[in-house]
Symmetry: C2
Amino acid sequence: MELSLYTRAAEISEAHAKGKHVVVIDVLRASSTIVQAYENGVERILPVATLEDAKKLLPTLDRKSALLGGEREGRKIEGFDLGNSPLEYTPEAVAGKTVILSTSNGTVAIAGSAPAKEIAIACFLNLSAVVSYLVSARPKGIVVLCAGNVGQLAMEDVVCGGALVDGLERASRARLAMNDGAVAARALAASMTDIGEVVRSSMHGRRLAELGFEADLEFCARIDAYSSVPIAADGRIAGRGAPRR
Amino acid sequence: MELSLYTRAAEISEAHAKGKHVVVIDVLRASSTIVQAYENGVERILPVATLEDAKKLLPTLDRKSALLGGEREGRKIEGFDLGNSPLEYTPEAVAGKTVILSTSNGTVAIAGSAPAKEIAIACFLNLSAVVSYLVSARPKGIVVLCAGNVGQLAMEDVVCGGALVDGLERASRARLAMNDGAVAARALAASMTDIGEVVRSSMHGRRLAELGFEADLEFCARIDAYSSVPIAADGRIAGRGAPRR
């Protein structure tokens, strides 16, 4: 089975995602925020690439149960209900709600992955669960899309992607035909022992610390805190109670 | 000093190369071929991105001393004098000649780097020489552009780039402000002990072996065989005897 890893959201256009399982990794912070919201009972998440898309979508929803979430340059967007800190996505804030989410990297990667058979949302929080999910899904091919940061490779995403590649290789019975990106990410992940330090010392981690989000960094570096795998299909991520389509 | 590493030729557009020193790495094979031709007395190399550019340029030159070189999908281009195997670029073939060179990744990266202050051509063959050159050039900033392969990250280029980053860090007195790409490549390179195996097992290496270029792989994995640093400026790489501009 083909297993390819790409290091920036924009590369999904070259990944020939059609018919494959795409795994979108944006450790800081969209994937971590989505997993947290999912765990805390969100009804559904509508990931959108642009603010315009978010604003168009809002009037089509019941405003009482709809929230706007997301960031630009790490900060909450003016007029939005929530930013992109997973710690904001508490049960009190999101249970039973629809969240329209727009972030700089992660939701762009999700929106770009639309031709895929299925899109799984992954981060350190649910790493082992994503491995198990993919092994049992028996995919035709897997594309690991590390969202990156400001158009560049992001260390925390590639290390998480490499750990995922390693987990798949250990758990899968199929022979994996990897691209160089997957081989490189796996080797990189194997050379890193302290995920907290990887996240803190990354470009994006340092930027978020400057903005006062140190607690997010610690949270997003937790490995296997959760066992859920949010799946994006038809432009939305259904909550855990809801039917998936 | 800023030290940024990018993993694909196309990313030069995001690298803000203006005023900086760009190092173009295409181990398989454009950088290795250029270094070899330079060592073997080529008069000048004109790197071009497209076949159209190559064909336009040829009639402006003295055909007796001009050669067309390059590849598409690893193979010599029909009607061209030379392919992209460094082993073809012998003194007999290239001494005193002008070579118009068009390759799939490397010369695209060089052409895209035109806004840079200076463009150095690097590969394993001249790794330490490039480090010394950059340290003495006292650049404002360095961009390491790993050309990649078919639009993707290429393992052999990133490992070579990481070794260059490591060398610069050891040799430079300035504090280096690295992007995540540079940090990741350095860690990846540190985890690799056998460069021959890195080159042979890479996607591009396996493809070239299929095409019968095993000898190229061995050649391109030689570390510090040469001490020259070809420099591209104003659309050309002057030979070692010629004035640089």
